[in-house]
Point group: D2
Chain length 438, copies 4
C-alpha cells in the first residue's frame, strides 16, 4: 500500500476532527504518512488546537500518521498525494454578512444560494485558483478534493481555469440516501439512487431497491419530509402533491428555489432583533463551544458535539473518495464533475453533480437510465447559466458579468435590485475582492 501525504487547506476548521476520524475508520485501507494542516496566520490559534486534538486521536488508535501545521502554502502542498480544501475566505463573519445583507431587499441570504453564495464565490474562486497554481507547480499529480462552498462553482472554476485533477464533493447526496435507506428499512448499499443536477440543486431522480424503481412508493411511505432536510436549512415540509407530480426527490436546498417566499420569511425572522440569528451566527456559538472542547487534553476522540455543526457524512464522503482513488476501487460516488453531455441542454464544460465511478483515473460519470424531465432541467439550466457567469465574474472582476450573473439568479426579483445588491456586496467585501478594485 502506497504511503500517502494529505494536505488540508483550511486545516483549522472545526470539521478537521471529523476528517481525521474518517482516516482512522479506514486505517486498514489507507496508509497515511502525514497530514499537513495548512491555514492562514489569522487562523493560527484554531489550527494549533485542532492539530493537537488530531494528534491525540491518532495516538489513541496507535497509528503513526504524522500531523503537521503549516502556514506556508507551497511548502504544505509539496509532494502531496491528496489536497482537501475546506477553507472559508473571510471566515464566519463574512458568511454572516452574506446571510444578512440581502434580507433588507426581501431577497434570500444564504451561504451558497442567491447573492450570499455569489459573494462567497467571488471571494473564494481567486483563492482556489491560487492554490491550483501552487499544486500545478509543486504536486501536479495530486488530487484536489474540494469541499469549499459553493462547491459546484468552485469546482467549475478549477476545471475551467487550471489543469489540476479535481473532484468536487458535497454531503447532500449521501445524506439523502441515508434517509431513503432508513425509511425503507434497508442498508444504504442496497439502494441505487440516480442523482442528477447541480451542487445544492440535485435531484434524487430514481431510487432502486433490488433492481426495482421504488421512488413512488417512497414518496408515499415517508411520514414527513423533514428528515430530508439538513442541520443548516430550515426544515419546511415538502408538499406531497408536488412530490407526486414530479415523481422525484428534490435536495434540501431546493427549498430555496421552490419555497422562496417562505424561506425568506423564516430567515428574516431569525435575523430579526429577537430571532436566533442567522446560521453563521448560530454556528459561531457552536464553534466557540467546540473549540473549548477541542482544547480539553482529555479528549482523544471526535467529540459528539461536532454533530450539531452540520457536516454529517462529511468524512465518509471525503475519505471514502480518497480510498476509492488510491485503491482503484471502481466504486460509485456522487460528485461534481464536468457535464460532457450528461445534461444535453447544458454546455459540456460546466460542472454538474451526478453519480460517477471512482478509480485511479478519477471520476467517470455513469449515464442516466432515462433523461431528466424537462421540467427539472429548466431551473437547472437557469441556475447553471447564473453560475457560469458568476465564475467568469469572479475570475475577471468584470462588473458587467457580475450584473448579468445576478439578473440570471432566480432568487433576485429585478435588475434594479440586482444592481443594488451588487453595489452593496462589493462594498462590504472590498478587502476580499481585489479583482474588482484594480
Amino acid at each position: 500500500m502506497k504511503e500517502l501525504k494529505v494536505t488540508v487547506i483550511g486545516g483549522g476548521s472545526s470539521y478537521t476532527p471529523e476528517l481525521i476520524n474518517g482516516f482512522l475508520k479506514r486505517k486498514d485501507e489507507l496508509l497515511v504518512k502525514e497530514i499537513v494542516l495548512f491555514d492562514v496566520e489569522m487562523g493560527r490559534e484554531k489550527v494549533e488546537i485542532v492539530s493537537k486534538l488530531a494528534e491525540r486521536m491518532i495516538k489513541k488508535v496507535g497509528l503513526k500518521t504524522k500531523i503537521r501545521v503549516s502556514f506556508d502554502r507551497r511548502e504544505a502542498l509539496e509532494g502531496a498525494d491528496f489536497v482537501v480544501t475546506q477553507f472559508r475566505v473571510g471566515g464566519l463573519d463574512a458568511r454572516a454578512r452574506d446571510e444578512r445583507f440581502p434580507l433588507k431587499y426581501n431577497v434570500l441570504g444564504q451561504e451558497t444560494c442567491g447573492p450570499g453564495g455569489f459573494a462567497k464565490a467571488l471571494r473564494t474562486i481567486p483563492v482556489i485558483l491560487g492554490i491550483c497554481k501552487d499544486i500545478e507547480e509543486v504536486c501536479p499529480d495530486a488530487w484536489l478534493i474540494n469541499f469549499t462552498n459553493p462547491s459546484g462553482m468552485v469546482t467549475e472554476a478549477v476545471k475551467r481555469y487550471s489543469n489540476v485533477k479535481c473532484i468536487g464533493l458535497c454531503n447532500v447526496p449521501i445524506h439523502m440516501k441515508m434517509t431513503f435507506a432508513e425509511v425503507l428499512g434497508v442498508k444504504p448499499e442496497e439502494l441505487f439512487v440516480e442523482y442528477i443536477g447541480l451542487n445544492h440543486l440535485v435531484w434524487a431522480k430514481s431510487i432502486y431497491l433490488y433492481g426495482k424503481d421504488v421512488t413512488k412508493d417512497l414518496i408515499e411511505q415517508m411520514t414527513d419530509f423533514e428528515s430530508l432536510s439538513m442541520k443548516n436549512i430550515p426544515a419546511i415540509d415538502w408538499d406531497r402533491d408536488y412530490l407526486r407530480a414530479v415523481g422525484m426527490f428534490p435536495s434540501p436546498y431546493h427549498r430555496y428555489y421552490l419555497m422562496t417566499q417562505e424561506m425568506v420569511k423564516e430567515e428574516q425572522e431569525a435575523a430579526s432583533e429577537n430571532g436566533k440569528g442567522t446560521r453563521a451566527e448560530v454556528v459561531k456559538e457552536i464553534e466557540k463551544k467546540l473549540f473549548e472542547i477541542y482544547k480539553d487534553e482529555s479528549i482523544d476522540t471526535k467529540p459528539k458535539e461536532l454533530d450539531k455543526r452540520g457536516g454529517a457524512y462529511y468524512s465518509d464522503a471525503a475519505v471514502s473518495l480518497i480510498s476509492a482513488i488510491s485503491n482503484n476501487k471502481k466504486e460509485m460516488h456522487t460528485v461534481n464533475v464536468l457535464n460532457n453531455g450528461m445534461l444535453k441542454a447544458l454546455p459540456d464544460n460546466c460542472i454538474i453533480e451526478t453519480n460517477a465511478i471512482i478509480d485511479n483515473t478519477g471520476a467517470t460519470p455513469i449515464l442516466l437510465k432515462s433523461p431528466l424531465a424537462e421540467e427539472a432541467v429548466g431551473l437547472i439550466h437557469l441556475v447553471k447559466s447564473y453560475e457560469m457567469l458568476a465564475v467568469d465574474a469572479a475570475v475577471t472582476g468584470d462588473k458587467q458579468k457580475a450584473l448579468k450573473a445576478l439578473v440570471n439568479n432566480p432568487l433576485i426579483p429585478s435588475i434594479n435590485v440586482a444592481k443594488q445588491l451588487l453595489d452593496e456586496l462589493l462594498t462590504i467585501n472590498k478587502e476580499y475582492l481585489p479583482q474588482f478594485f484594480n
Copy 2:
C-alpha cells in the same frame, strides 16, 4: 392570381377593421373573394357592427370582396384558404379576472405571462384544438394564422396535437424593428434583426445595417427605452448598464421577468381603488367607444382611434404573411415555429419565435449567425419548460401537470402559492375548463 377565401375566427373583434385595412393595402397582390367573420352567439352584436364597417371600407376602395357573418364554425371554415384566429375565450371579463386574481398573492397578473396567461392557455387550447379538428375535416389545405394569445403556447398545442398547417404570429418583433429603424433614421427594410426566443420572451440578438452589426451603437444611441415598450405594457425604462452587459435588446415583455418587482407594484397600483384599472378594464372602455364609432355609418375607413387599442402592425404582420405564402415570396418574417434545433437546449418539437423564410411551403427558420448567449438561454429554457407543461395540462386537464407548470413559472415564488393560485383559477374559470371538472 388565385381567388382566396379567408375565415376569421373571432370575427367580432375590435381588431377586425385593422385586418380589413391590411387586405385593402395589399389589394394588388391578394385577390380575396370572400372574408367570413365567424363568432359565437354571444358576440352577435359586435360581429354585425364590424361586418358592416368592413363592407363600407371595401366598397369605398371599389373592391368586390364579399363580407359574410357566420355563427356555424364548420360552415364558416368550409373551403377556406386562410384561417385567422383572434378570438378570446371568456372575453375581456375573463382577461380582467386573469389580471386581478394573482395580485393579492403579490404575483403578476397579466394576459400572457404568469398565472393569468396560464389561465388563458387552459381556456383557449381546447377551443383551438376543436377548430383544428374542423379544419382537418373541411379545409385541410388551409393555413392557420394564429394571433390568439398566449400565441406561443397556442401554436405549440396546434403543432403537437393536430396536423393543421399553422404559423403563430405576434406584433412584438415588427414593433421592435420599427423602433430600431426610427432611432437609426433608416427604413425598416434596410435592417436585418436577428430575433430568437419565445413569444413574449424574444430577444433582438443582433441588428445589422448595411451588413454591419450596429447593436452596441444602438444601445448607446437610444435616448430612452420607453419607445421599446408597447401600449399594453407599463413602460418602465430599461437599465442601460444591463443592456450593455447583455449586448442585446429584450422584448417589451421581458420586463415582467427582469423587473418583476416593479411590474407587480405598478399593476397593484393600477388595480387599486383609485387606480386606472387593469389593462382589460381600460381596454373595455376603449372598445365601448370604438364600437360606437364603428356603428357610425358615415365611417368607411379604419378609425384612427383604433390605434389606442394596442395592435399596431397587427395587419401588417398578418396580411403580409398571407401574401408571402400565397405569392411564394420567400420573404423573411418573424414567426412562431417548431424549434428543430434552433435553440439546441430546447426539445425539437417545442415552439420558438424566430426569423423564417415564408413561401408556399410555409415557414422555414433561418439559422442564427452565432449561438444565443447561455445567459439568455437559461430563462428561455425555464419558461419553455413551464409552457410545455402548461400545454399538456390544458390538453389533459391533469391537475398534477398544472401544478408542475405553475411551480416552474419563474414569476411564482413558491409551491404553496402555486397551489393556491391553481385552486383559485380553476374555481373562477370553471365554466371554461371542462377538462378539469370531469
Copy 3:
C-alpha cells in the same frame, strides 16, 4: 442467495460446456437450481450429447444443478431468471453460404460483416423477436443475455421491438484486454480500458494503468499485432504507423473495414479449390470432432479441444455478467447497450458497445473521458446507419429497406452489386426469410 433458473436457447451448441464451466467456476456466488437446454428438433442429437456432458461436469464438482433438455420454447422459458441465446438459424451450413456467396462479386464473405452478416441478421432477428414475445409472456422479469450474432444488430432489434430486459455480449473486448495485460505484464483487473464503438467495430480508445494513459506506450511495446486477432479472423498484421496515427487499438474485426482488399483476397484463397475452406467449413470439422469427444462418457470436464473453436472468454463474459446482475455487484463490463448520447452523432435508440456498470438494475454506460476522435466516428456512423436499416429490413421484410441497407454497407462497391447480392441472398435463404416472401 436466490436460486436461479437459466434457460439456454440453442442449448445444443458446442459452446455449452464452456458455459457450464463458467457456472462451475462461480459456484460460490451463483446458486443455479436448473439449466434448461432448449433447441429445435433438428438439433436433438447434439443437445442430448451436450446435456449428458453437462451433467457429468456438474456431478464431478458435486453440485445439485439440474440439467434439462427441452424442445418446447415457452415451457423452457417459464420462470427463467436468465435466458442465454446462442442459437444459429440455419446452422453452420447457412453460415458457410454466407461466407461464400459474396466472394464471386469480390465482396467480403463473413459471418457478421458485409452481406453475410446481413443475411444472418435477416434470418435471426425474427426468431429472437419471437423468443422475446415468449419471454414477455412467461418470464417477463428474466434478463436476456444475447450472444447470438450479429450481436449488435440482434440486441438492437430486441431493444427497439420488445420490452425484454436485454444485454448484448461479445468476447472481443475481454479478449483485447487480456492481450493488453499480457503485453504489459500485469493482471487484467489492473487495467482500465475505455471501449467505444459498435459490436465488431469497437475501439480500445485508451488503456489506463495505475491511473496513467499508457495507450501510446502499448502501441510501441507490442512486438506484433497478431495477438490482437482472434481464432476466426485472418491475423493480418496491423500497420504500426496507422496505429500511431490514430493512437487507439482497433478491434480484430476492424480488419474487414480497414484492410478490405487483403481480407477479401485471403478469403477467396481459403474458399478456392485448394484452400482450407471458409471458417464455417473449418468449424464444421472442429465441431464434428468435438461432439465425438463430448460423447465420451469418461469426459467430465470441459475438453481443451474446445479452445480451438474460438469462443475464448465466452463463459467469463456471460456468467460473470449474470453474477454481476444477480449479486448487484456494480461491476464494469463491456456490453451492447442503447447509445443514449454516448456517441452524440448517433441516434439515442441505437445499440453501441461500451463500458457499463452492471448491477441489479441492468447495464448503465459510463461516459467517455474524452470524445472519440471524429475520424473514428465517421465509419461507425456509416456502419450503424447500415445496421439500423438492416434491422428495419429484417423486421419488415421490405426489399427497399434491404437495398438501402446494403448500399450503405461500406464493404459493397456499388448499387448494382448490392442489388445482385440481395437477389442472391434472398434466393439461397428463402426458407429462413418468410418475411420477404409473403
Copy 4:
C-alpha cells in the same frame, strides 16, 4: 449603387469569359468599376488573351468597366469588394496526374474525390490561406467567393484558419434544379429544392412545386437520369429502385461513392492506351481550341464552344451571389457554409452545402423541413471526417494526419493501399507541397 472592384484569382482561366458574361447580364443591378485578372507568371499568355476578349465583350455592350491584368497579388487585391477564386495549383497537368495515379491501385482517379481530390486539396489549401492573409491585410471587408475545387475543403480551410468573409460555391445544385424544372415543365424559380450534404456529396432532399412535395413523382417522371449528370462525370444511369428506396436525388458526384466499381472501370478504360484520355486530358484539348477562339479579335461575346468546358451556370451562381450580397437581396442560394447544427451529427465548425439566405451580412442557412435520413448522414459523416483530416493535413503537412485522412476515405480499400497512394502522391506533387518536405 455602389461602384465595385472585383478581383479574380486565376484570371487566366478559360472560364473567365463566362464570368464576364455573368456581369454583363446583370449590368442593371451591378455597377462594376474594375475587374482585375490576377494570375501567376506562368499563366501570363492565357490571362492576356482572356483580358482582351473581356475588354471586347464589355465594349460591345457599351459598359465602362475597366479590365486590368496583374501579377502582383497584394496589389491586385487592394481595395477589392469581391474576390473570386478560380485558380488551379499545378494547372491541368497536375489534374491529369491526380486522375491517373490512383488507377493502377484500382482506386478512383478524380479531381475532387478520392486520392486525386486529396492531392488537389494539399496543393491548394496553403495557397488559398496565403490569399486570405493578403485579404485580411489589404481588403479585409472583401467577400471571397470561392470556386476553387475541392470547394468544400477549400472553404473549410478558409473558415477555420482565417477571418476572411468567405462563401463557397459550386454549380452542381443549380444544375440539378435546372434539370428538375425542365422535367416538370416549369420555371426553376417556381421550385423549392431542399439541398443538404457536402460539396459534391449533396442531396436534393425534397423538391416542392406550388407548396407540394413532388420528389416521388419526379423520380417516376424522369425517363432517364443521365440528364442529372454533368459534362465531367460519366453519365452512368441511376437505378430507379434505389432512388425510390431513398426518395431523394443524389448529386451527379454521388456516382463515385455509390457506383464506385463501375466508375473506376470507366476511368480505367478512358485512361487506357486506346481510351479518350482522362477528363483533364480531354479538357486540355478543349482549352487549346478555346484559347484559339479567344484570340480571334472578331469575337466579342462568350463563345458557345465554352459550354463544352463543363461550367454551366457557373456565372449565374457566382455573379448572382455577388448581386445578392451587394443589393441585400435576402435571396436563397445553395452554398458552402459552416454547419452550425444543420447536420447535428457533424461538428459545428465544418463546412456543408445547403440552402442559405444571402444578403449584405453574408449567407445564413435555412433549416431543413425534416431531418435528413440517417442512411444518407452516415456516408456524409464518413466523408466529412476524411475532409476535416485532409484540411488539417494540408495545413500542417503532417503525414500521420494525411494517412488517417486517406484511410477514412471510403474510396480507398485498405491501409496498405492508402500508404502507397500517399507516398506516390507526395512524390509526384513534391514541388507543390513544401509543407510536407520541411
